[in-house]
């Protein structure tokens, strides 16, 4: 029996999760449609004045992204938990953290990346400038993985609980506030004529920090939930 290297394990898990998701495309689309809908509701609620919309656009997009990522968190481990795959995954000799990282990456590619790609279109609805749109994309690219990573901890802790969906939002949303602040702040600093570099650097720092710790913490949380 040849042992898998860490990279091939990571790729294997990502491929598996993506493949499973592709078999049920509706799940991925639901998150995306939810995101588009929430963002589109704001002009209806607030009014069509372009000045107001331009001002609230980054915040609206970020809050919607946050909610959309909460919505899909339940799927990160629950299917594997229900059919017993997760139990087998805990038994493999390879690093569980790496396995969890694979699942996080797959979750981001399915729920974060589509949002990043569609966000510019929604930004146009809010009359954002081209420069602001680029910064929005950059900020979302750096920030949405952090949401998936912090969310993984919550998803692992609430595995198999009653009302897990609401509970996971309650646990994870307060922890995501820094991402929201700097993500929306990056776009706003550009629109007010300042540089977005500081905000983006902080988002990058958060990404690196969570990349190191959250897979391990989520793995611990999984072990707690599964024992």
């Amino acid at each position: 029996m040849n042992r898998l290297s860490l990279t091939s394990l990571l790729l294997l898990v990502i491929r598996r999760d993506l493949l499973l998701a592709m078999r049920r495309r509706a799940d991925v689309l639901t998150t995306l449609v939810f995101f588009v809908m929430v963002v589109s509701l704001f002009p209806l609620g607030i009014g069509p004045e372009a000045d107001t919309l331009r001002k609230i656009a980054p915040g609206v997009v970020w809050v919607a992204a946050l909610l959309a990522s909460m919505l899909s968190l339940g799927r990160m481990f629950s299917a594997d938990y229900l059919d017993g795959t997760l139990e087998q995954m805990l038994l493999v000799p390879q690093s569980l953290s790496m396995l969890v990282l694979g699942k996080i990456v797959a979750h981001w590619m399915l729920s974060g990346l589509p949002l990043v790609l569609i966000a510019p279109v929604l930004g146009l609805q809010f009359d954002m400038s081209a420069q602001a749109l680029w910064v929005l994309i950059a900020a979302l690219l750096l920030g949405t993985p952090v949401l998936s990573m912090i969310g993984a901890i919550g998803a692992a802790l609430t595995l198999g609980l009653r009302g897990g969906g609401v509970l996971v939002s309650l646990l994870v949303l307060p922890l995501c506030i820094p991402v929201l602040i700097f993500g929306a702040g990056a776009v706003e600093s550009v629109t007010t004529g300042m540089s977005a570099v500081s905000h983006l650097s902080l988002l990058g720092a958060m990404l690196m920090f969570s990349l190191v710790f959250t897979p391990w913490v989520s793995a611990q949380a999984l072990r707690i939930s599964m024992e």
């Binding site: 802790l157 309650l170 820094p178 602040i181 710790f213």
Partner: protein, 245 residues
């Protein structure tokens, strides 16, 4: 004389000790509350700038300080429970959470009451207010997570992990909220940097100690209930005088 501290890490022995300790913290707390409130309301002079309404700080400031401090204590107990697998530490963490949430809430509520006459608004998106609100959310998340898990062992460990993650996040949240606030707008109203009157200091300090003692007393009472609830099937609980009656 060496005291065997580990003796009291067993819930059965700690139950009795906690019962004996409660009055020693509860009565001084009640006494100091009376003294502190008396100094605060009758001895401390009226503030030149803020008038009578400033007296809210005698409960507001201790509540804010303790709400933050209790979270750290709670996370520390939770970590102890997670690392050394001591049941009592996890129970202490569970016992502290509602008090911490209560103080966070009192701090927000009295802050709003103070803000209305001073700032002309019940709520201002000030860095301190916002981070206190997020702290309340963190407490509620911890309580909700533990409440929804039936298995106490899993509830303890899951709550512990959440508390530790939260305590790592607290400074990040605090600074991000602070920077967010200063980036949006400079804080227009600041605390006046005048030195405090001695009677005000005394009242504040007395109230802080009183709140502190109250926290210890109430969490000991709560941990006693938790011990009884979790150990209800054991022999030593059945032999307790208060149970036999």
């Amino acid at each position: 004389m060496a005291i065997n501290w580990f003796k009291y890490s067993a819930p059965s022995t700690f139950y009795g000790l906690a019962g004996k300790l409660v009055p020693w913290f509860a009565w001084p707390a009640a006494l100091l509350f009376c003294v502190g409130l008396y100094i605060g309301f009758f001895v401390a002079p009226t503030d030149v700038v803020q008038g009578e309404a400033y007296r809210i700080i005698f409960i507001h400031v201790p509540a804010s300080i303790l709400s933050m401090f209790i979270y750290l204590i709670m996370a520390a107990y939770a970590a102890l429970g997670l690392i050394f697998n001591t049941r009592l530490s996890a129970m202490m963490a569970t016992a502290l959470a509602p008090t911490g949430a209560l103080f966070a809430f009192i701090s927000l509520w009295t802050g709003a009451l103070w803000g209305k006459p001073m700032w002309g608004a019940w709520w201002v998106w000030d860095a301190r207010l916002t981070s206190e609100l997020i702290l309340l959310f963190l407490y509620l998340g911890f309580i909700a997570l533990q409440a929804s898990i039936e298995d106490t062992r899993r509830a303890d460990r899951a709550g512990a992990l959440l508390a530790i993650v939260g305590s790592v996040n607290v400074p990040i949240i605090y600074f991000s909220v602070k920077w967010w606030n200063t980036l949006h707008q400079g804080s227009t109203i600041k605390f006046t940097g005048t030195s405090m009157h001695i009677a005000m200091q005394q009242a504040m300090f007395t109230m802080l100690v009183a709140c502190w003692l109250y926290v210890i007393a109430i969490s000991l009472v709560r941990v006693r209930s938790i011990i009884l609830e979790r150990e209800r099937n054991t022999q030593w609980v059945k032999e307790l005088a208060e149970i036999k009656q």
